[in-house]
């Protein structure tokens, strides 16, 4: 190497080292976020402390499965099940990228192995089976693994007679697994039927967004269905409907509040109140707490005249 080159290189290295000390634009952006609804500029750490809910307009940002579990379950109580179940590529699917590449991409983006995490935990001291979907992995889509993990957590709830909570967030069935994805609707619904017949409580929590094959199976089969404020929930997507009926839809169409008005869900509960609400519901359905026995009615002899 020429001595001149060596000096030139050293200068360049110094410059990049200096640039590193100053925060890049992206790093600045990561500190601040503008609320999607009211455009208020929010400090991300504050937002995180507020459970990713805008303090000004109460817009509920999407949160991932891990954050969801951390928020709902008691500290250190969560025990993951079926952590090693991962997708294979049964159809050798290829669009503009192969399915295998897309899986790797989803894994890098979200740090997750699949679009759902399942396990057991306690919620305010009450033992439950919990499943949380993550929209950040492959749009939360349901393929064989999501279907299988849901089915296994249902079977676990049935075996251990624990209440089941599923937090849904999904764009629907995963197209890259074709018909196998569609059959997961059947598999999960059939498993829920068994749970239902054993009178075990299943609470379905719908979060932004829940659509397609997920609403058309386990998400809409809850004994109790709760939705987060503003969450968009439906079967067909808004654009598909607008194209089909050739007219504009109301702005609040398919929101949690719209669904409540149309009798499709039991309640809309803000994020901060969710753990308490679930705990209360579990208590109200608990089979251990017997109802007071009906008071004996004093027999009065039939009066005959």
């Amino acid at each position: 190497m020429d001595l001149k080159d060596w000096f030139a290189n050293r200068k360049k290295n110094n410059e990049t080292a200096q640039a590193k000390q100053i925060l890049s634009t992206e790093e600045y952006c990561a500190l601040w976020i503008s609320c999607f609804q009211c455009r208020e500029l929010l400090y991300t750490r504050d937002l995180r402390q507020n459970l990713q809910v805008c303090p000004k307009c109460h817009y509920h940002f999407r949160i991932g499965a891990l954050d969801r579990i951390e928020h709902l379950s008691d500290a250190n109580s969560f025990c993951e099940t079926e952590a090693n179940l991962i997708s294979s590529d049964p159809l050798k699917f290829f669009d503009t990228l192969s399915y295998e590449d897309r899986l790797k991409e989803a894994n890098q983006k979200s740090g997750l192995k699949e679009a759902i995490i399942t396990g057991t935990c306690t919620i305010q001291g009450r033992p439950t089976c919990l499943a949380a979907m993550d929209f950040g992995y492959f749009g939360g889509s349901m393929g064989s693994v999501v279907g299988e993990k849901i089915t296994r957590i249902i079977e676990l709830a049935l075996e251990q007679r624990l209440p089941l909570i599923i937090i849904s967030s999904s764009g629907g069935a995963r197209m890259q697994e074709g018909i196998l994805s569609l059959m997961q609707l059947a598999k999960t619904s059939a498993a829920l039927k068994k749970l239902h017949d054993s009178a075990i409580l299943y609470i379905s929590v719908l979060t932004e967004p829940t659509f397609g094959g997920v609403t058309a199976s386990f998400a809409m089969l809850g004994d109790i269905i709760i939705a987060e404020p503003g969450a968009r929930i439906g079967f067909a997507g808004r654009r598909v409907i607008e194209q089909t009926i050739r007219q504009k839809l109301p702005a609040d169409f398919q929101t949690a509040e719209y669904l409540l008005k149309h009798g499709q869900i039991d309640m809309v509960i803000e994020r901060a109140k969710l753990p308490q609400t679930i705990a209360n519901l579990i208590d109200l359905h608990s089979l251990d707490c017997h109802q007071p026995k009906p008071k004996a009615i004093a027999k009065t002899p039939l009066k005959t005249h």
């Binding site: 090693n84 179940l85 991962i86 997708s87 294979s88 049964p90 159809l91 699917f93 290829f94 669009d95 503009t96 064989s144 693994v145 279907g147 299988e148 089915t151 069935a173 197209m175 697994e177 074709g178 018909i179 196998l180 994805s181 569609l182 059959m183 997961q184 609707l185 059947a186 598999k187 619904s189 059939a190 498993a191 829920l192 039927k193 068994k194 239902h196 017949d197 397609g212 094959g213 609403t215 058309a216 199976s217 386990f218 998400a219 809409m220 089969l221 439906g234 079967f235 067909a236 997507g237 598909v240 409907i241 089909t244 009926i245 839809l249 169409f253 398919q254 149309h262 009798g263 499709q264």
Partner: protein, 318 residues
Amino acid sequence: MTTGKLPPLEFELPLANLNTQIEALERQLPNNPALEQEIFELHKQYDNLKRSIYGNLRAIDRLAIARHPQRPYTRDYLDRFDPDWIELHGDRHGVDDPAMVCGLLKLGDYRVLIVGTQKGRNIREKQLCNFGMPQPEGYRKALRCFKHAEKFNLPIVTLIDTPGAYPGMTAEEHNQAQAIAYNLFELANLKVPIISVILGEGGSGGALAIGLTNTILMLENSVYSVISPEGCASILWRQPTKVQEACESMKITAQENKDLGIIDDIIEEPLGGAHHNWNLIAKTTQNYIIKHLDKLNLENDIVEHRTRKFRKIGCFKD
């Protein structure tokens, strides 16, 4: 009914061209008997071409046959299975969806309930049936009839030919997703044997809502998929023209569904598709259904048989 002259599908064009050529020569034949040899050769060529075209259908060609406007629909089958079939109407909650047809009939020695989606033949019928896309009320009507069949111990046959559940504003307000989910939920536990036949299009949740059955049969040229190939093309390729690629990638044909272990049997169609001979395809379908009902009769626990079938479906690494 054997339909008269049908406009050729895209892949049938070479065949149609050859046919016009033969017909033109045949018209000249009385004046020029020397043409006979040439016509004979062309006929041979025609038969070969026909065999090679219909023997090598691509998924997109089968999709075209499955959507053929002259393809027999649910009502055409019902009329041929039992001309005296009795239709049941309504969901008992205010609506009767014509896109879902329910009827009681005799199928060979069996008394059965048949529930199927109906596309509609002319414009008026098509509009009434939403082009074969049922409303939530249609699925609830189907479920009411399923319960009826269970009560009277009648086997159920479902005939599926739908692009999907109807994506409309009132359909969403009346909870289309719940209607489908609840059908799956209840179908899983019905105490009678259930067989489904995909007649044409098996479109996503709209098809599955009457397709969670003990035995699934598909007509040779029918398709069954998680989303319409057009929908898949516009979402994944962002180009609606990539339909052929979507068809190939998603594995939608009867043979591919059988290889994946989803369906149980394939019902062969007349050469070129079911629309060439309605009576024949109705007869063949009836024979297949009876054969599989006989088989299901040997099962001890019909509910367990059904749930086990779906419990196994899925492909993953553990």
